[in-house]
Subunit: 245 residues, 2 copies
């Protein structure tokens, strides 16, 4: 019987985490349709969808898929936040990006039928899953989806480069400030979201204590203000000084 450690000696915590199937979608009446892959599809395109598009709910810390796993489909994030996690050869975990409502999760599966990173819900999240077969068929037969797909690829690549160029460069102060600005609510730009300090460290290549110290400093100096008692939501008070630190 194998013990609960990997060959590298890291503990494996056997967590069972809930995810739940929530029925199939009628994409025509999707609430966030203007943001997503199917935004421009017409009635004829929808008629070519011959596999069900399922909806799922994931609890915080639930795993959508793991690195290297065989792919069933591409996810669209309807609500919540999902982190993409890579594990390095020596066992450290790195968060390469955070996806939010409207983002596509697992695009890479279109090319390889495997996922390149692990995807984990950071808060309770709802997604829909489009089977690979549907996407392969439509991307060849609907120029409208074809264009959208291209835009999603481009957005994913730009996001990846942004995370590297903006959030993993410079002092601890600059990184935390940069994350605060990047994670602003789309609809309320003076509010922003932070995460568990260890997660923030994995995003910014900092230790959790350093993250905590920098956040405290930003609060002390009046650039941001906590909106809850658990350190997740903050109000941005001085955008200018956050930018030019």
């Amino acid at each position: 019987m194998p013990s609960l450690t990997t060959h590298a000696g890291f503990p494996v915590i056997p967590i069972h985490i809930d995810s739940a199937w929530k029925g199939t979608s009628d994409c025509r009446s999707c609430g966030i349709r203007d943001m997503v892959l199917f935004a421009d599809l017409n009635e004829q395109d929808f008629g070519q969808i011959h596999a069900p598009i399922d909806n799922f709910e994931y609890a915080p810390e639930a795993v959508l898929f793991t690195e290297g796993e065989q792919a069933l489909g591409i996810y669209t994030l309807r609500q919540g936040m999902v982190k993409l996690v890579r594990s390095t050869a020596d066992g450290r975990a790195r968060i390469v990006r955070v996806l939010r409502a409207g983002d596509v999760i697992g695009l890479e599966a279109l090319a390889t039928a495997h996922y390149d990173t692990e995807a984990v819900a950071m808060v309770s999240s709802s997604v829909c899953r489009i089977p690979l077969s549907v996407l392969h068929h439509l991307s060849a037969n609907s120029p409208r989806l074809h264009v959208r797909l291209m835009q999603k690829w481009q957005q994913a690549l730009k996001d990846a480069d942004d995370w590297l160029a903006e959030l993993n460069f410079g002092t601890a102060r600059q990184r935390v400030a940069g994350l605060a600005l990047k994670m602003r609510d789309a609809d309320a730009p003076h509010k922003t979201s932070f995460f568990a300090r260890e997660d923030m460290g994995a995003m910014l290549d900092l230790k959790l204590e350093t993250v905590s110290r920098e956040i405290s400093a930003l609060v002390r100096e009046g650039l941001v203000r906590p909106l809850d008692k658990i350190g997740r939501r903050y109000e941005i008070l001085d955008e200018q000084r956050l930018l030019t630190n």
Copy 2:
């Protein structure tokens, strides 16, 4: 009369750097065709190409295109190395990736007709440029190109995540060692390429002095050995210790 500084006060060096047109391609007889976008095209596909595919040579430090520039086409790197550079809001330059023979440069232009990063030759490099119109037409009409394109997008995204997860994480030692392994020759895996120390710093988020020190340490401890006197080519002597540093 504008001075030679930007609004942020950084000097602008007015360098004129050579690039030269080297004729148009017959892609059917391309020497590296099996690596590139047009690998699987058939005679019918080639018949649909109605704009010339130009070849160019760039000298070291020559700029292929700048960030935000309107795009004419997508480049394929036939020989040499090209760095992708982002400038942050406060004027620092970050190298987000290095492209090598067979890689595609400027894919993002397919979606937006603009380039998202600056591309600069690091050594003298030869490229061919496929006009956007050709790619738009073929990606809709040739399933063979369609599949290749998807693979190139996926590769670009994976590369971006790799740079973040593997090369911008951990100690200076780990980063330099990681770069040595990533930049190994495709055909001679015990040989590898380094770059100007300042460029390496911009890739790894280190200062050039730190890069120099770490390389010296790797040489001193017998993990690598210089193959030239200018610090560009090295032989990998102990791959295992490079990996597990």
